[in-house]
Amino acid sequence: MTSIEPSPHPWRVRDVLAVFARCLLGTAFLYMGLNKALHPVEFLKLVRQYEVLQHPLLLNGVAATLPWFEMFCGVLIVLGVAVRGAAAMLLAMLVPFTWVVLLRALAMHEAGGMPFCAIKFDCGCGAGEVLICRKLAENMLLAALSTWLMFRRDHRLALRDRLL
């Protein structure tokens, strides 16, 4: 469905919110992806710190492709192309990433004994050092927006919101 064509029904509040959500989600991933793509070595070091990926090919593969992939999905979301599929991919990235960030923060909390929300580190999110509670809240918001966009039936101001 191409929503640039006249829509069968007038704009509703939810349509406006969905466009706003797409802009927010898309630009957030564009910004974070660009920051990582400009500094791939720094991102590579941060990915390594999670000790999830050991093999160099996997480690390099994630560090080399993830930033560009985030930007790709961000552009699709903003332009309104394959919105549901792109939102699903963003959700698929957000959930495991938030989980490993949480695990690392918990490990730091146990090791250092400092209050959980006072923990601050560069999680590799593309925004530098962040307070963990703020990061988790941000990620949950982005995940909620992704989920909502994923299940919306149609999108306004979208070039081609469904490919299939």
Partner: protein
């Protein structure tokens, strides 16, 4: 159910296209990573070290020169010293590094300092006369730095210090490229300890003549 299936199929399509785009962008980007390269070479040679386990360096009075640094910091530096030992690399303490810096052999190229950080950090300030060797872009530096290290009697590699491991990776890469391990040392305190001791720092390019703290 049909709707969910469509979303999943569309997600797979996005994943395939996105992956192709990402691989292409990484390959075309001048900052792109090489997928098949090990940027963190630690295991190779670590267990086969011909050297005895690395000990903290001592100065001419037999005092352990790493000890103050370790005491000052912290776990990060002692962890670095432990890693050096595991990788068969020789640590060098602050006092010994300063002695080498003031050694006449430094000007003759018999002693070489190697800065393992990236361009921005190197330009912001490095040990005067140090050669840059950013091992993540080894192809840009190895041809010039390797002969210098091979001809030197001692090569001291450093990075930021603390939790920075780049000096270790750079030293391992130099060792793998042929620099005898007996010649290679890692200054674990790094530029942070160096500047903290108010020692001279050169900004800009190597031998730019722009010095901070010129008279230690």
């Amino acid at each position: 159910m049909k709707n969910v299936k469509r979303v999943l199929l569309e997600a797979l399509l996005v994943a395939a296209l996105g992956l192709a785009f990402a691989l292409g962008a990484n390959a075309l980007s001048p900052r792109g990573l090489r997928l098949n390269r090990n940027y963190f070479p630690t295991a190779a040679g670590a267990r086969n070290s011909a050297l005895p386990p690395a000990k903290p360096a001592q100065d001419e009075r037999g005092q352990t020169t790493n000890a103050p640094a370790v005491a000052n910091s912290t776990g990060a530096l002692s962890a670095a010293l432990r890693r050096l030992q595991e990788h068969g690399l020789q640590p060098m303490g602050s006092n010994e590094v300063v002695q080498l810096f003031r050694d006449p052999g430094y000007e003759q190229g018999l002693v070489v300092f190697v800065d393992a950080r990236d361009d921005a950090h190197y330009q912001a300030g490095h040990i005067p006369g140090a050669w840059q060797f950013n091992h993540y872009r080894a192809e840009n530096y190895l041809d010039s730095v390797l002969p210098i290290c091979l001809n030197a009697q001692q090569a001291v590699v450093y990075c930021t210090g603390g939790e920075c491991e780049d000096s270790e990776f750079a030293a391992i890469m130099l060792r793998d490229a042929g620099v005898p391990r007996e010649k290679l040392f890692v200054y674990a305190g790094g530029i942070t300890e160096w500047t903290g001791n108010k020692l001279p720092v050169e900004t800009g390019a190597r031998l730019s003549g722009q010095l901070l703290n010129p008279k230690p």
